[in-house]
Amino acid sequence: MSETTILTAEGLEVSFTLRGRRLAALRGASLELCRGETLAVVGESGSGKSVFAKTFLGMLDKNGRIERGSIRFDGMDLAQFRSERDWLSVRGKRIAMVFQDPMTALNPLKTVGEQIRETAALHRGLDRKTSRTAALETLERVGIHDPELRYRQYPHEFSGGMRQRVVIAAAIACGPEILICDEPTTALDVTVQAQILDLIKSLQRDLGMSVLFITHDLGVVANIAQRVAVMYAGQVVEAGTVDEIFRDPRAPYTWALLASLPQLGIKGEELYAIKGTPPSLFKEIKGDAFAPRNPLALEVDFVAEPPEFDVSPTHWAKTWLLDPRAPRIEPPETLKRLRERLAADRRRGSAVAGGAKNAAQGGSR
């Protein structure tokens, strides 16, 4: 799919220096983002998903650096960018970012409209009047009613969901090709989350953007993504289309992640739980990083790191189980239950409406 990819990260290694100790945040992470798709990056905290996204914007903290690997975007290698000047033509303009917490992403002392206008003015070189019109249009586009009035208001006059709409407006104001969303709905209520997810989907469709969506919530992944990359301990361990990942996962970590969903639990029984905690990234990791927590681990997992094995042209996984010499190991029984359980719920209609209005795309608080 090389002609359709817009951004390719390969073998990215990023480390941070913390009190003289070296932390390997990314240990050879790779992914491909295709034109016009939404790719979800899913992982636990500390898996490196946010660091990964930050490298695409040159926003690593000062104590962090890219040690190896490349990030190809439009003939450039972003991993080679050194100065702020290099980044100015890309960051915010061609690749924009929506952060998790809309409370801290906006300047409380500036009107909402002004914050959107200035990104349009800066990156698109518009004068005051045209950039103002552009900002008003963007506000309307993200589902904010009465943009003329809202333009003059301050962030504190907006609810959490509305504020996240403003952050999204500022990000799309200069027509980026790639929108990176780092847990944009984690701080929001579920009903508001549903509206924001709908908004991101409609913007992605209408503006033809590519979206890189970082989350830890597998429900959100199923809702928004066409493709999924699963991260563990600084690496992408499995990538594929959303159906491949949910229906035919291959990496033991993906199995474990799906199996520990409370939706799969049977009341009165133990919920499937992954033992232990993720490995310390201060230490050298030998073999498959998940092996110590994986009850199905093979001997080779403790010795050698598995390569990426192709499952289909769109699906690969980093696990020795896919090696032709490996024994046949089936995914845990509970996983098979996932589909049946959810289908049964749907038949009973707990997730489906009768009579009530369908979701309009946001709007009133």
Partner: protein, 311 residues
């Protein structure tokens, strides 16, 4: 009063006043928690679910209503002895394990603090033994007692938070979002732990949460709260199978399910509070089906039931 009811909340209202403005955070809420069950309060931020938890714990003052613990009134003024007894019988598990442990104290002291305050031991050996048991109960090795909180991960810290509550031998545990700050793989461990303790030690939980998939798994009964009012209360499975109140349905429809096919064909329900005609027909708390309560006018409840039937 039924003697298997451990906590009974009657007509609870809480107002917050700022200057002359009055904000009613909790409005005439009533429910019972039975001994040995997990009752969950779910609602969005600002719905008043945390305020209810705080009112029960005597942190926030009531404006109206009464709260009974095992038949004994525990809101408002209590004499010192009763207050002490209450503080031992009802314990809390906090949301953020990174913020709720004293960073300068060793685990030994953190877990014993309640024991010291209440003098619940006769000798140093007894105290040590109690701490050790509590740590073992939550799946930690007793050696951790000599360490500091910063040496532990989020999941382990939440276990310490639970151990600290357990050591007091409480009857009721109020857990305010105890899972939401934890990662997926750690979450399952803590859920299992809470369920195991409930079974083995006959604990009762009031579980305050917004994550409905966790709530469904962990709860016996679920109460849904919207803008300070209880709108629906039912057995967990009944609530998911036959949600009646339109707000409950909106809330359930908004939860993203981990299945791409379901998500593609999903229709969101949006709750429109102005759809109720409460000026003409005021709502009341009605038992629509045995054990399944909903807030609405008689006509509404009939209509919702018919709709649930046809879904």
């Amino acid at each position: 009063m039924n003697d298997d009811v451990i906590l009974s909340v009657r007509g609870l209202s809480v107002d917050f006043r700022r200057g002359r403005r009055n904000f009613r955070a909790v409005d005439r809420v009533s429910f019972d928690i039975r001994r040995g069950e997990t009752l969950s309060l779910v609602g969005e931020s600002g719905s008043g679910k945390t305020t209810i938890g705080r009112a029960i714990l005597r942190i926030t003052a009531l404006s109206e209503g009464e709260i009974f613990l095992a038949g004994e009134r525990v809101d408002g003024r209590l004499d010192a002895a009763r207050e002490r007894a209450f503080r031992q019988r009802v314990q809390m598990i906090f949301q953020d394990p990174m913020a709720s442990l004293n960073e300068r104290a060793k685990i030994d002291y953190i877990v014993s603090e309640g024991l010291y305050n209440f003098g619940l031991f006769h000798s140093e050996a007894e105290r040590k033994a109690k701490v050790e048991t509590a740590l073992r109960d939550v799946g930690l090795s007793p050696e951790v007692a000599s360490r500091f909180p910063h040496e532990f991960s989020g999941g382990q810290r939440q276990r310490i938070g639970i151990a600290r509550a357990l050591v007091m031998n409480p009857e009721l545990l109020v857990a305010d979002e105890p899972i939401s700050a934890l990662d997926v793989s750690i979450r399952a461990q803590v859920i299992n732990l809470m369920n195991k303790l409930k079974r083995e030690r006959h604990l009762t939980y009031l579980f305050i949460a917004h994550d409905l998939s966790v709530v469904r798994f962990i709860s016996d009964r679920i109460a849904v709260i919207y803008r300070g009012r209880l709108v629906e209360l039912a057995e967990a499975e009944a609530l998911f199978a036959r949600p009646l109140h339109p707000y409950t349905r909106a809330l359930l429809s908004a939860v993203p399910e981990p299945d791409p096919e379901i998500e593609r064909s999903k229709r969101l329900v949006v709750y429109d509070p102005s759809a109720h005609d409460y000026a003409r027909m005021p709502p009341a708390w009605r038992e629509a089906e045995p054990g399944h309560f909903v807030l609405g006018s008689e006509e509404e409840v009939k209509r919702w039931q018919a709709e649930a039937q046809n879904r």
